[in-house]
């Protein structure tokens, strides 16, 4: 990011016909986009929504309300245009890029092995990295994958502590028994992998998932190309937690599109000092929350670029 463009955008905001600061987070969004795009007046011509998809060995532990077959069925639904994110992408005038990663080869069940080998992990990171167009003006990242809130809670428990109780929620709507199995799986894995919990990348490989690794890869590519990023919900945020543990400034180019209804998300955002743009009780994934947040970015830039200044409009300022 380039602070000079943030300063120019902030200066412009001060002169627009409104009390200074009165557009709140819409002003902050415009300034953030200016900083990362390197433009006083940022643009949203090419907006990409990337949805990464993976399968999880831990699904066999009965941690989800849905069978694993739903992962591939939903990829077909994305392709046919029938999912929520298809409609949201259209409403946000964004291109939708769905990236299934080796669905026929789920990760290993991390209660008894590493979910991925280092090589498998890096391949998934690379799949995400390669997804980001370098001329992208804004990237929204999300995911789909049966059992992946278990993997997300796993990363949080491994890297932030507090045990399964702090991080395991109902995901797509698992019942009490399923939730108990989910917590037990996480506790078992915390014990099995206790030797690596201090190493964020080892944790990401052994306890994460392919679509989570790809989200981290997309986040890295976006940083490389100065592309601002909107994170989706609990899984997408947990996916970039390892980056934040490696470097506290690694996510400066990211904003939280929303806080989801999944129970651990609010706590996770607080830990990562990310302030969500939306709080709509959503818990779907698919980048749906980040996709809706694109609409806020569009409103923010419409005001930033289109409003008259006090001088242009002949409006008196405060105290005139």
């Amino acid at each position: 990011g380039d602070q000079r463009f943030a300063d120019m955008a902030a200066h412009r905001q001060q002169n627009l016909t409104k009390p200074p600061g009165s557009l709140g987070r819409l002003e902050e969004l415009a300034i953030w986009l200016a900083q990362w795009q390197g433009r006083e007046k940022p643009r949203l011509e090419r907006v990409t929504i990337a949805v990464f998809v993976g399968n999880h060995g831990v699904a066999s532990r009965g941690v989800s309300a849905y069978p694993q077959a739903v992962t591939a069925q939903m990829v077909a639904n994305f392709a046919a245009g029938g999912a929520a994110i298809n409609q949201i992408a259209k409403a946000a005038a964004a291109e939708l890029c769905v990236v299934p990663i080796e669905l026929e080869r789920p990760t290993h069940d991390f209660t008894e092995a590493a979910a991925m080998s280092p090589e498998e992990y890096l391949e998934a990171v690379d799949a995400g990295y390669r997804t980001v167009p370098d001329d992208c003006d804004l990237l929204a990242v999300g995911e789909m994958g049966i059992a992946n809130t278990t993997a997300a809670a796993m990363l949080c428990a491994a890297l932030l502590g507090g045990g399964a109780a702090r991080w395991a929620g109902r995901g797509t709507g698992v019942d009490d028994d399923g939730l108990a199995r989910k917590r037990a799986a996480i506790e078992t894995a915390l014990n099995f992998h206790r030797g690596i919990l201090g190493d964020p990348l080892a944790v990401a490989a052994a306890l994460g998932g392919r679509e989570l690794a790809a989200i981290a890869g997309a986040g890295l590519a976006a940083r490389q190309h100065n592309v601002p990023v909107l994170l989706d919900g609990f899984v997408a945020t947990a996916a970039v937690l390892p980056l934040a543990r490696l470097d506290a400034s690694a996510l400066d180019h990211c904003r939280a599109g929303h806080v989801s209804a999944e129970s651990g998300h609010r706590d996770l955002l607080r830990e990562m000092r990310l302030l969500p743009l939306l709080d709509l009780d959503m818990r779907l994934g698919e980048a749906s929350g980040a996709g809706v947040a694109i609409l806020l970015a569009r409103a923010a830039l419409a005001c930033h670029a289109g409003m008259a200044t006090f001088t242009e409009a002949g409006v008196s300022g405060a105290g005139d």
Copy 2:
């Protein structure tokens, strides 16, 4: 509103390819629009943003950071397309309807007289009532008027208690001295009008303002025509408070577009049992927050109408 259409829309939501309830408030928005439009699949073809504008005698008490001339200057800015709400209306594909009401004749200073006579009050209500097209699919209401957060805080203090300290905030950004004058004006008026505080309509006339009366009138017309309404911030919400005090169900067709940064708004929404859609630290008025919330309604209906059902998409349901 027609509950049958709400039920049909809720049934449709249950069958779309997502865990039930996972679109959160987007589902609720679609169901609410169905109920008031009387359509299983609501539409947003004609969306109107109404901005009512008035001047206030109490401005002479030094309660605002801006001179009263700014009210008319901003009307010119609206006409020229240079204000925030012009850009937001464009982004939301909504028609903008700005209604100045006797700007050259401010209300009387309510610290020493009734702001409006009953006749003046009803004229302003009628101006609002006549603004609502009967074929409108969704109406967003807001306002502009130097010193009108003082009138809004006045209505809240008169009808909900707690004194000026509970309701007076910084509005467009008044300094400490101005805030003290604002509180003093409210306390003086509470005492001067102490005989009418039990009568919501008398309070609306004697202590409100023309643009606030017009918002209440627009709310009544919308109810008459079954038009769903998005309320803007503190002033717009206070403007319909007298209706809520007359009939607890009077605002069933309304949703709070956002909670503003103006200090009394969160408390007022809680009192009126309105749950805001957005919380973006905005405090501009002009229907800007309600205007941004139109984007959420569009996203909600895109999902509601465009998503495939589990059967259509061949996706397994929970527990299959």
